[in-house]
Symmetry: C2
Subunit: 415 residues, 2 copies
């Protein structure tokens, strides 16, 4: 076995062995004690402030206002420009951003611990079914009211329930959900239900002490099928972080984008992000009245899920997504099978029934991507130019960042 092979074997092993458990829900500032409260986090590799545009810029400013760091959007823009408010990538604090990926100090985050690697990752809460959400680049009084409810009611109540339950192991839920039509990125219907069932008893116990928060929390959990996405994202980030930093490994340990660029990091290549153009649409279904020209990228780190074998890497588990993001069952199977071409392993627990219970493909090898010219398939939500969600779809990553990383890898190992 070459040093590269053994390094990659270790990376795949760590991805496969991750054992994510939701242990708490806490304000970000408590989950990450060294978090500077005058900070707003955003998805993707770091950009200078001038680089942020459109919805992602809007989201950052809205987050600053929500947190009380600025009076209004204009004031926030001034303070960011002058450095009184800093903008940092989510990953600096082991957070994983959804779309714009806005985090501020008081926002509640799901605390997911990887019990195999003893590392933690964090994700904030799904904002609900409104098309207008902070993470889709919108900030207004409805969005603010909703963020307050998440901070003051939903987050603390779920936190109490999770602590009362002694934590909620997520791998068993993810495993079952893949047998129930979820690929755990664009579809989290079964996982959300399974997770909700785990909370039912602790919530019932809490009911006598705090009936109204429990009612609101139940309504929130019932109102959509997406709650679990934030848990699959934190789980995937925790698994990818555990697999990161192995000398000699050419395995991808992160895929993210900001409003301008897609970027990847590689286990054996330190903390550099290799940047390239944004992903291209492979098949998407936009809500009525929208066309491809309405699409705006405003960031997103939910593609950590693909890094860990979910989403586009598990499409053959989720045929109902044809309806949501276009395409056919056959095309989904083909796209899924192609991902085995660029990965080094298969997950021992997370399996796809249609493929004879084959494990999801894990351990994307930058060399295989470049050699075969096949790039990761990404199942992502689609934002519109005026903010808000306008659809969802299947995208393919651009190859440039993999080429850059492969070059860096070759230089490093040639030395």
């Amino acid at each position: 076995m070459t040093p590269r092979d053994s390094a990659n074997t270790e990376a795949v092993h760590r991805l496969a062995a991750a054992d994510p458990v939701l242990v708490d829900v806490l304000p970000l500032s408590e989950a990450v004690p060294d978090f500077d409260p005058r900070t707003v986090l955003a998805s993707g590799a770091s950009l200078r402030w001038e680089g942020y545009v459109g919805g992602q810029r809007n989201g950052i400013l809205g987050g600053a206002v929500h947190e009380g760091l600025a009076e209004n959007m204009a004031d926030a823009a001034d303070k960011v420009a002058s450095g009184q408010i800093q903008v940092r990538p989510c990953g600096d604090y082991r957070c994983v951003g959804s779309l714009a990926g806005i985090y501020t100090a008081s926002m509640p985050v799901l605390v997911v611990e990887n019990r195999a690697g003893s590392n933690r990752a964090f994700c904030n809460l799904f904002e609900g079914v409104s098309r207008h959400r902070l993470n889709y680049g919108v900030y207004n009084s409805d969005v603010e009211r909703n963020l307050c409810s998440l901070r003051d009611v939903i987050g603390p109540t779920i936190g109490e329930a999770v602590r009362a339950a002694g934590g909620v192991p997520l791998l068993p839920i993810m495993k079952r959900a893949l047998h129930m039509g979820d690929e755990l990125h664009s579809r989290n219907t079964a996982a959300t239900l399974l997770f909700t069932r785990e909370l039912f008893e602790p919530l019932m116990q809490l009911q006598q002490r705090m009936p109204e928060p429990v009612k609101q929390t139940m309504d929130y959990l019932r109102s959509s099928d997406y709650f679990f996405l934030r848990l699959s994202m934190a789980s995937s980030r925790a698994a990818a972080d555990a697999a990161h930093g192995i000398t000699g490994s050419s395995v991808v340990t992160g895929m993210v984008f900001n409003c301008r660029e897609f970027a990847i990091r590689v286990s054996g290549l330190g903390n550099d992000w290799f940047r390239g153009p944004l992903p291209r649409m492979a098949g998407a279904r936009l809500f009525d009245g929208f066309t491809e020209s309405d699409i705006e990228f405003m960031g997103g780190e939910s593609t950590f899920n693909e890094t860990a074998g979910l989403g586009g890497f598990a499409q053959a588990a989720a045929f109902p997504l044809q309806e949501y993001q276009g395409g056919s069952a056959q095309r989904m199977v083909e796209a899924n099978l192609a991902m085995y071409e660029i990965t080094l392993g298969e997950h021992p627990e997370l399996r796809i029934p249609y493929l004879g219970f084959r494990g999801v493909p894990i351990g994307i090898d930058i060399r295989l991507v470049v050699e075969k010219g096949i790039t990761p398939v990404l199942d992502i939500g689609v934002a519109g130019k005026d903010g808000g969600q306008i659809g969802a779809g299947s995208f393919t990553a651009s190859i440039e960042c993999f080429e850059l990383a492969a070059t860096a890898y070759a230089e490093l190992t040639d030395r």
Copy 2:
């Protein structure tokens, strides 16, 4: 359009239009006021007492003892033989039997109303995950204790919750479950979860008044993935009953078996059951230590589900069943597609994602079965010779009863 065509169109329409709603859980004697309490119901077309053997005979006797109609099994056998206790088919009271299909007066039944046809059907409660259950031909002190808990705690508590909820519409649950890996016969995992979620709030409300029954009921609902089977069975029976009795229709409106025979009824052929040999095993997975020679048929009317387009008619919605009943995804797709060959319609709401959201095949036409030599595929639980469940599998109906029915149909329409 020939008279037969229009009669069949009406039958298919009634199967498609059925709108099943769980409206209550009641003791059988309250759900069916004319039920004679000295009666035990059993699955399948009627048999003389001497005809009942093995597990089904055992179940009947156990039911009589449970109901207090006899001191013990021997006493029960004497009283049945002398006519003091009567044995009747479940269908005489619009009940639908699981395996042995034992019903007695005090047993709680799910009351399912077809709001399109204004007819009702009843099914008793899943006995839980023990391999030893009355409906698998076993009666002992554990089984008795469990039946008492269903009668005294679980049934009444679910009944209260269902009434508080104003009834639970089942079609939306069934529709979603087909997108979540269920075919609603051998797999009811998603439907059970979705149904449980509907009861969360009413159970939470009941908790203060009756904490212990609510806790036991939650434990019961959480303990398995099969609760919903009884609801899909009652829904299917209600739909099939609505489609029954249309003059000139050659559509199958019931498939059942007792311990000796498979039998079908046909919409336009009155209340006769056309009998033939038991189904043949197509692919089954038996629990460790059991072989095909251990299989014993002890009845079953869950094949009403196939009559209504579920189970074997929706296998391509439930690839995880490969694990449970053997086979491959490809074979499941082929088996499912074959069912379109012998049916006259497709359900407008109940759809299969893998088949491009094609509606499940409904309206089995006896003439097509005989003409093409393709018989219904049935996903059923498998009982063992000593009682108890020993596996599950996919079976194919024997053709003889369809031939008998086709002959009767020809005679009737030639007259």
